[in-house]
Subunit: 184 residues, 2 copies
Amino acid sequence: MLDTTAELVAEVGVERTTIDEIASRSGVAKTTIYRHFPSKQVLVVEAVHACTHIPAVTDTGSLRDDLISCFSGMTKASYEGRLGDMMLSLMDAAQRDPELGRLVRAQAEQRRRFATTVIERSVERGELPDDVDVDLLVTMLSGPLVYTKLVRRQRVTEELVAAVVDSVLACYRAPVAPESAANA
Amino acid sequence: MLDTTAELVAEVGVERTTIDEIASRSGVAKTTIYRHFPSKQVLVVEAVHACTHIPAVTDTGSLRDDLISCFSGMTKASYEGRLGDMMLSLMDAAQRDPELGRLVRAQAEQRRRFATTVIERSVERGELPDDVDVDLLVTMLSGPLVYTKLVRRQRVTEELVAAVVDSVLACYRAPVAPESAANA
DNA sequence: GTGAATCGCTACTATGCCGTAGCGTTCTTG
DNA sequence: CAAGAACGCTACGGCATAGTAGCGATTCAC
């Protein structure tokens, strides 16, 4: 039932998803749906919740490996499969529906926190300078992946994740500080 | 009339935009709207077209300046104002509506081509190595901006554009090649 | 001025969807 | 096996919306 809802949202979006269609597809009577969920809004929120699972955070001691593992996990969990197909419509609906808004924002926050944790751990190890802009770094890492998924509508491959991580990390490993290089 | 349509799409999204509401807001009778546009779909496409304007490409001779100018222009043209507010809903609707799909894809392509041009010009000048992955570079630049706009729902400031450009360019100016640094 | 095109207004059809009522059936539980 | 809970089905009421018809008023061009 929640599964069918998610399937429909992925196919036609939140707005075009109707209770009647959920009922006929899942082989459940419409009245039964209303016996469990007071409204379509709640049903959608529950359906999203149901297909959300949080990837584990690894700690290999290497920033590069941790980041790749972290973003690969996120990709599998959020950008692939049903949740990936629902994403755009969910984000759009979240602009108007406060409940969905909270849900989507919470998920984005959580994904950000994972990456932030990995980076801060690396700073403590001395792998990155103390004054590194963690917020910018997370944006530089997440951005290209989201962009590839939502705007280019291409699969986020392991190779892309590695390329993005390496590209972002490259300047922090070089002897020249980014600030001075930027003004060259 | 097209203006009111764009305004409504920005406010409530493509799906929730109704002809009646457009009529009453623009002070135009519904019948008059149908005398100009055969359907809501066409009206929305025209409205999007109407508020799309292409920023000029600069050629200062400096990759950094050109990129900042390029992405600042794109930001103003696409991420701010009405088009920025319409973006998510348009992208979602574009998944199902072939006409909108073409439109959105064309705009994304065009934005990409701007950046690609700037970068290729820089490669010809010898500022960047010949074997640079232009495609990845454009993704690394566009991604964080789109991510900031769509996912974080924050304004894309001039400072952010500069920070992203500098961050991406940093590794290409450093003496150590990114590949060897990544494996360090 | 006069004819033609355009516009505004009200009303209308048709459709789709939300959410509910009522009733008979099935399944569970003790 | 018996009682109660859960389910399926059909049929609603109510609302919103896409598009259309018809007619009178307005504007515009010549």
